[in-house]
């Protein structure tokens, strides 16, 4: 109930904002429906610090755009969950943009995505996490609206987990299917007026990420973040993910995330 009320307030708040503010869609905790430029490569490094369980994770990511509509991410997952820092798993993420409705200074786009992950860690939480802690697949759909410099994006996906590698079966009573959703809002703060590509851009984002399992378990996180873009090519994100509603076991719900990403245009 609390989470539904929060969602409603968020949507109402965004509707108010969208007519008067400025923003971007390069979200920190979710992906927009837009793709990278065709024939480009992106290099990304994300680091998560969790203060509840003293967990740390580092995720190097290689992103490649085959065409204007199709892109692929390959991600490694390193962390200290086994004591020493080591590789825990990996993820493939493919996104296909199937709807593109552009107008001057605005667009509406839709994309579908597929995540496939392999993880060798033990399963000690009910939360289904394709990105961090489980082997499985996730398929979903994203819709993103850019209006002047304001961006609003939503996604819905379904997850199906497999047993983790070797001997870590999913415990009895832990469901392996879930519905995931996200809602993201971004606002451009600086510069007030564009003059050249060297100006530093600053964006503020606010995101909500939730999950609902088949056996009635759910959580909802919020993720405020700030983003800086240098030379129109390198971005630095700082975000904090905070759980606001939950009735399932989760190992690391609250975490600080720092990310650096660099885009190489037309290299393929």
């Amino acid at each position: 109930m609390k989470s539904k009320l929060f969602c409603l307030l968020f949507i109402i708040g965004m509707n108010g904002f969208i007519t008067e503010s400025k923003a971007q869609e390069l979200f920190v905790f979710s992906e927009p429906a837009s793709n990278m430029p065709a024939k480009s490569i992106g290099l990304r490094m994300s680091h998560w610090e969790n203060y509840d369980s003293n967990m740390r994770q580092t995720l190097p990511e290689f992103m490649i755009s085959f065409s204007k509509n199709l892109m692929l991410h390959v991600e490694g997952n390193f962390g200290n969950r086994f004591g020493t820092y080591q590789l825990n798993g990996g993820l493939l993420y493919a996104k296909y943009k199937f709807l593109n409705n552009d107008q001057v200074k605005s667009h509406f786009r839709m994309a579908t995505f597929l995540k496939v992950s392999q993880n060798r860690g033990d399963i000690n939480q009910e939360e289904l996490s394709i990105t961090n802690r489980n082997s499985g697949v996730e398929i979903g759909i994203i819709a993103t609206k850019l209006l002047h410099k304001t961006a609003l994006s939503g996604s819905v996906s379904i997850s199906q987990l497999f047993h983790n590698q070797v001997y870590f079966d999913r415990p009895i009573g832990y469901t392996s299917k879930a519905l995931n959703y996200s809602l993201s809002y971004g606002r451009l703060i600086l510069p007030k007026k564009y003059k050249n590509y060297k100006q530093i851009n600053m964006n503020l984002m606010f995101e909500m990420m939730g999950q609902q399992t088949l056996n009635g378990k759910s959580y909802l996180d919020i993720g405020p973040s700030v983003q800086f873009i240098f030379n129109s090519q390198t971005r630095v994100d700082i975000g904090y993910k905070k759980q606001i509603q939950n009735n399932m076991t989760r190992y690391a719900p609250n975490a600080l995330m720092i990310r650096i990403e660099h885009l190489l245009f037309n290299v393929l």
């Binding site: 400025k22 065409s67 552009d102 107008q103």
Partner: protein
């Protein structure tokens, strides 16, 4: 000696005047951020015949100049914008004309490009004029449909030379449909 220098200056000046396509102005759709704008800028500068790209980030506009003005390829410019992830809102060719008579549905072979004029009054083009490409994906859908009412030619839909086109081939069979704003 002075005469030779004058002749040389006149020759260079005449070369400049005869350079018919001066530039192409593209306005892109679907973006507001400088990272997106830079993606288009990089994509345009990656075209081998492009000499320079001047960008206006605030208005999503790009002015492109060329090394060889007889080899300007509007389709390549459009693809550069779409490959970067965006669309063309408008593309205007800024060109010099010398007493070229045009009318609705008239054709003109110009700098290797097959031009087919749509939604224009009978007139003579003289001097530096900006012409607008009104083909599909070069202009917004509403304007594309509006201009379709001014021709029955099949080539307006396909962009390829058809029976309706009574012009010599340019670089290819591609026919660009042109209007004047």
């Amino acid at each position: 000696m002075t005469k030779s220098i004058l002749t040389l200056i006149l020759f260079i000046s005449s070369l400049h005047i005869n350079a018919q396509i001066q530039s192409v102005k593209i306005v892109a759709a679907g973006l507001t951020c400088s990272m997106c704008s830079k993606a288009i800028y990089k994509s345009l500068t990656n075209i081998s015949n492009v000499k320079n790209v001047e960008s206006d980030i605030e208005n999503s506009a790009y002015i492109v100049t060329f090394k060889d003005t007889t080899m300007v390829n509007p389709d390549a410019l459009k693809s550069a914008v779409t490959d970067a992830g965006f669309s063309v809102a408008s593309m205007k060719i800024n060109a010099i004309f010398h007493n070229k008579k045009i009318s609705n549905d008239s054709h003109l072979l110009y700098e290797g490009l097959n031009l087919h004029f749509i939604n224009v009054k009978e007139q003579i083009l003289n001097g530096n004029i900006a012409i607008t490409i009104t083909d599909k994906d070069f202009i917004d859908k509403k304007s594309y449909k509006k201009n379709a009412a001014f021709t029955k030619s099949k080539c307006y839909k396909t962009g390829e030379k058809a029976d309706c086109c009574k012009i010599e081939n340019g670089i290819s069979n591609r026919v660009y449909h042109i209007t004047l704003d």
